[in-house]
């Protein structure tokens, strides 16, 4: 009989499983369980009740008195698979009347599933191998990481942070560094930093994956190794500020790294930093950029980090931009469907969710959909193309760069 090891579930998580009132508020707005597919076991309530039922069968009072009950392997595997059909977007945390921190619960549930050999799922194993072997989830060689910067090397001086020790370390992230369709995001960010005369650099080919993918899929031990390596590099580069343009990298460095080791530098997302640069008049956005723009709040930036105003303030600073809000915005923002390993393991589900987000943007009357996360960008752009929508996908830094004279 397979005995579940519940010592991998956090004390607080175990409390929270009992604190769930089964009210179902989370089921209505859950992008994967309630909206894209009506499957109770994918919803937060479904997962909580099923896992609680399983461990109580083996550790509850009845189990203590009459012995633990066997849980069929198929049922355990079903729970594991359904648990990964979750983007960890945090919408359930926002609506939960019992104030359960579901983001922590889902990440911890995945750690528990990994510890009990029920996860990761086969598609995630490929990514894990890639991160462990190449320091990135895209199976790309380390030597290609800084290739994105070749296009602007004559135009901009990007310092080697490990050798030249700039004041600001620009943490590029794997998606912007390797995906040929997203590279412009890194290029635009570098151009914006250069225009503000920021003394900045990158870790170049020495930058490692931030570990977000590993953490979100429950692989805490593998993530720890990545995090430790990156912290060592941060220490070596010793910047006073780390700026990440990827929402996932930002959340991970800001919130998860301090649990492993000390990050000496201040950590900001690019939207925060650009806001500061605009306030200090180091960036002057004076060129008109025409468009009815709607902003998609990336989950890692919005619900996970509570940064809602910064990107909007930047958009409002750009002459010619008319900002329109989608019906579901800010903390109620609908997820793009890609996060939490969903796009890797369940691409069709991810597409279904991103298509809903595109409909949100179209209904708002926007002609441009803007975001601040390469992963959301990738997913929403694919959905715009698949749907044949007239919306134009844009990264916030692209608009900022376009608004700079010269």
């Amino acid at each position: 009989m397979k005995k579940l090891d519940i010592s991998e579930l956090d004390v607080l998580a175990l409390m929270r499983y009992d604190a769930c009132t089964r009210c179902g508020e989370c089921t209505a707005t859950c992008p994967t369980g309630g909206e894209a597919q009506d499957i109770e076991l994918v919803t937060p309530r479904g997962k909580i009740l099923r896992l609680r039922e399983f461990y109580k069968k083996q550790y509850g009072l009845k189990a203590r008195l009459f012995g633990p009950a066997e849980i069929p392997e198929a049922d355990l595997k079903e729970l594991a698979s359904r648990a990964y059909e979750c983007t960890i977007c945090g919408q359930c945390k926002i609506v939960c009347p019992a104030h359960l921190d579901t983001i922590e619960m889902w990440e911890n549930m995945r750690e528990f599933l990994v510890a009990n050999q029920l996860a990761p799922l086969p598609p995630h194993e490929q990514i894990v191998k890639s991160i462990e072997n190449y320091d990135n989830p895209w199976m790309q060689p380390r030597t290609q990481r800084s290739r994105w910067s070749k296009r602007i090397e004559k135009e901009i001086k990007i310092k080697d942070a490990l050798k030249e020790k700039p004041e600001v370390l620009f943490f590029v992230g794997c998606t912007a560094a390797y995906d040929p369709n997203i590279k412009d995001m890194a290029i635009d960010t570098a151009r914006v930093l250069a225009r503000a005369k920021v003394d900045f650099g990158t870790l170049g080919n020495e930058e490692g994956c931030c570990g977000s993918t590993l953490l979100r899929t429950g692989l805490k031990d593998s993530a720890r190794r990545m995090v430790e390596k990156n912290i060592e590099r941060f220490e070596e580069a010793s910047p006073s500020l780390i700026v990440a343009s990827c929402a996932g990298c930002y959340k991970t460095i800001k919130q998860d790294y301090p649990k492993v080791g000390k990050v000496g530098a201040r950590v900001l997302h690019m939207t925060q930093y650009v806001n500061d640069l605009i306030d200090e008049k180091r960036l002057v956005l004076d060129r008109k950029v025409e468009g009815r723009v709607t902003f998609h709040d990336p989950c890692h930036l919005g619900r996970h980090s509570k940064l809602y105003d910064e990107p909007r303030r930047i958009l409002e600073s750009i002459p010619g931009i008319k900002l329109v809000e989608m019906e579901r915005t800010r903390e109620e923002s609908r997820c793009c469907g890609a996060g939490g390993g969903v796009k890797t393991a369940f691409p069709e589900l991810a597409e279904k969710i991103s298509a809903l987000r595109i409909e949100d943007a179209e209904s708002a009357g926007a002609d441009m959909l803007v975001t601040s996360c390469p992963f959301c960008y990738q997913s929403l752009k694919a959905s715009i193309d698949a749907k044949g929508s007239k919306l134009r996908m844009s990264d916030l830094m692209e608009l900022v760069r376009n608004s700079l004279q010269g």
Partner: protein, 303 residues
């Protein structure tokens, strides 16, 4: 971990726990109960034995659930040892300034349900009525028992005393009415309207029906007492407004069954208390603890 340490942890937890349980049981059994309404001393004794057993089951069930939490990641030692070491931390937390802030969070989030209010006024009202009525009944029970059996407070005993009229009659009636209204909303929502987010399984149905039986039993008992003009029910009927309305609709012959209904209501209430740790109603205890623990536990436990 050594056997000695393990046994020591167990002793530190279970000895005070059972001593506390023994003291509570002794208090329940040894109070004089000279002013209770039930006439049969046999029924009273049967009820007292039942309530002692049920309170024991409630505390044991709660302790068992808490020890299950203690098996989780983030703390070291046996579950008993972890709990024993957390108790002084919890006491220090209650005595610290942080507790003031934490209590405000507790009242706002766990009792007032601020988040639910913004999302659904009906469900917020429903929950507030049930929880508010439940807490009010519990507090009133403590006040009445203390003032009757220990203080022998005359205004609580006399038929026309202010405390008898406003606390024993009106207070309980109001708390019961709150619970009844909340439960009716819950039952209509769950069994008639059936919105998509509601899933009714046995534990959901049992919790509502059980609580409804207990609350309605209380009103029925009050009505029978008023109908029969039992001692304590002779004047000021209108303060027990719902029980009084029920008494007007009852056949006069029901008056003779007061003691039997009292016993059934008492035993059902006791069984309900025992049921809490094993039901979805345990969230009444777990939710406030989870909210407070988030602020109290060392950060390592939360990672």
């Amino acid at each position: 971990m050594s056997d000695g340490r393990y046994l020591k942890d167990k002793a530190w937890l279970y000895l005070p726990f059972f001593a506390g349980l023994l003291i509570i049981s002794a208090i329940i059994l040894l109070l004089p109960y000279e002013t209770v309404y039930v006439g049969s001393r046999t029924y009273l004794r049967f009820f007292l034995v039942t309530i002692v057993l049920c309170v024991g089951v409630f505390f044991l069930g709660t302790l068992y659930n808490v020890l299950l939490w203690m098996r989780g990641k983030g703390l070291v030692g046996s579950p008993e040892g972890r709990l024993v070491r957390l108790i002084p931390k919890a006491v220090r937390f209650f005595l610290s300034r942080r507790f003031g802030k934490a209590s405000a969070v507790l009242v706002k989030d766990a009792l007032y349900l601020s988040k639910l209010k913004d999302r659904s006024a009906t469900r917020w009202l429903m929950h507030l009525l049930i929880l508010g009525g439940f807490i009010a009944t519990f507090v009133l029970d403590l006040i009445v028992t203390f003032s009757l059996d220990l203080l022998r407070y005359e205004p609580m005993i006399s038929e026309t005393g202010w405390a008898k009229v406003w606390i024993r009659d009106f207070g309980f009636e109001l708390a019961g009415t709150m619970m009844l209204l909340g439960l009716v909303i819950a039952a209509v929502r769950r069994f008639v309207q059936k919105p998509k987010i509601v899933r009714t399984e046995l534990p959901d149905a049992v919790s509502i029906v059980f609580l409804l039986v207990v609350v309605l039993g209380g009103f029925l008992l009050e009505g029978i007492g008023l109908l029969a003009n039992m001692p304590g029910h002779e004047v000021n009927h209108e303060y027990s407004f719902l029980g009084y309305a029920l008494s007007l609709a009852m056949p006069s012959s029901w008056g003779q069954y007061y003691d039997q209904v009292w016993l059934v209501h008492g035993v059902m209430s006791a069984l309900f208390i025992a049921y809490i740790p094993f039901s979805k109603l345990f969230h009444m205890i777990a939710t406030p603890i989870a909210i407070e623990a988030e602020q109290m536990l060392p950060s390592g436990v939360r990672t």
